[in-house]
Subunit: 357 residues, 2 copies
Amino acid sequence: METGIDTAEPSREDRRDEERAGLVVVKPMPFNAETPQQALARPQTPTASFYVRSNHPEPELPAATHRIAVGGAVESPFTLGMAELSRGTLRSLVVTLECAGNGRTTMAPLPEGEPWTQGALGTAVWKGVPLAEVLERARVRSDTVEILVEGADGQGSKRFARSLPLSKALHPDTLLALEMNGAPLTRAHGAPVRLLVPGWYGMASVKWVNRIEALTRPFEGHYQKEKYIYDEVNGRAPEPVTRMRVKSLITSPEEGARVAPGRVVVQGMAWSGERRVVQVEVAVDGGESWKPATLLETPRPSAWVRWAFTWEDAVAGRHTLRARATDEAGETQPEAAPWNRLGYGNNAVQVRVVNVG
Amino acid sequence: METGIDTAEPSREDRRDEERAGLVVVKPMPFNAETPQQALARPQTPTASFYVRSNHPEPELPAATHRIAVGGAVESPFTLGMAELSRGTLRSLVVTLECAGNGRTTMAPLPEGEPWTQGALGTAVWKGVPLAEVLERARVRSDTVEILVEGADGQGSKRFARSLPLSKALHPDTLLALEMNGAPLTRAHGAPVRLLVPGWYGMASVKWVNRIEALTRPFEGHYQKEKYIYDEVNGRAPEPVTRMRVKSLITSPEEGARVAPGRVVVQGMAWSGERRVVQVEVAVDGGESWKPATLLETPRPSAWVRWAFTWEDAVAGRHTLRARATDEAGETQPEAAPWNRLGYGNNAVQVRVVNVG
């Protein structure tokens, strides 16, 4: 009998709806969604508002029975349950993830692919065990060049799988993550276990990890060689997409906002994969009048740093605001990013239009 | 005694407020404002919603006493009152005007200058007397190369003044316009008389015409040689800004709109100065899948043509729409317009983001 009365346990569908309520949907199936702009104004991104990028429908992997197969060019292959993994050396890291396709809609000509504006971005606290610890137990052979990490999503040659150079795989910050923001991973974010590759665009942080394999030759799978490459269509061989390019965004005032004349505080964040941001500048109106913003936190190489700029003398009318970041290697955001066929790595300076008065 | 009761005659301030209520203000003084996006969806733009671009505060010229001085390299200089002018051969033309700086905010790097998005654009019915008729009366000398038209706005070397090549000045569609949309010009649009140069960007259509002069040498004033030039900063001499480049806009659905799945009608307009538009194409999502739209009117060389495209199978999720126009000379809108220092002539294909479902 259907009573219309809620049962104590929310249904799977209800849970899924709840998980998706705080997001801006880009594609319902497979589910892809952006972090809302208001959520980006927070120092860390709540899980319910954290962008989701999936190439395939989300697998459902029960934590109690899921096991990762660890093998390939190793002395001691084994399978690893989640309870066992969680008894490893747990580390917590604050890490910003950005989709490689974030900002694609402002590239010209507009490439194919998910039409991400600027919300395929978020920062969370991630907790997990270094991949290196698992690889150590497997005793990787000396002729290993890459570590392949495969997800449970997709099938055949389109199974989602990515490799990392051995050095990045062994970095102590590269985690097999079990938790996000103090709770077990949600299904959308790779439950029960995902890779977390700080400093690299999100495609490297394989969700729903199924298999880890030491490779003696570079991986040439679909998501390694046909996607996530910078193909500038200029006769040169495409480069792989790896670390996040230096970038900044303005979070306040919002696009099209109306603010009072006088003093206006402009805020945002900036990041650069594997590198610290050392400077953020803001330009009010067009031209080259860049002025330094203040970094509000100690810059870290794997997470955005928040910044603020005081616009002292805003007068009535429409104005533009731009921010640009520079990292410790001296790289500065370009005004236009190099175009590439698949639309990755757009770290161009963004123009924000605001109204004063 | 202040009664708080409205008097029969609205004050000058009230009239001005009313004139400005239908506009999106870009700068309060001198007054600059865009046509709202909804108004652009109409075949013609109501005067109260027609963009205003002024380089200086608006002069107030009483129609009863205002006279235009006609002189320079002419046999018969004279001054011309408005009543006399209106007894000339009156012509009515439907003409699209676009500010040369329209779309500046999507140019990278962002140039200085008014931050026009895409609303510095409008189409009206203009009524006036051919400039040629006035020049004929003055008997322009055979060594004349340009006709200078000066406004009453600005002072000294910054007085707003522009010249036209003799051939364009003598074109029967180049008018001294007295009316806009069936009513005398409003102050913001150049009352009591403005030049109307069909097919050219708006700067050529000098408002508040004060003086007309036949020149035997090219004019080198501020608004001719220092502004309204394509300075691509590439070592080549800047070109003057003249005719409007081929361009199109989508008016429906609006940016960020949510529409039902299935059949979606996409509408907009396209124009190319002095040329007929012959084709408009629409692309749904990124890449190069352009499909023809239907022109809803017979294309004219001086006004936008409206078009429609039926997107047959819109599925849930975020999508992008783009339109691109081609004119009778075979010119097609570029995906990115050539950058220039002052930010003019941006006719790049625009990306519209919409949500289905």
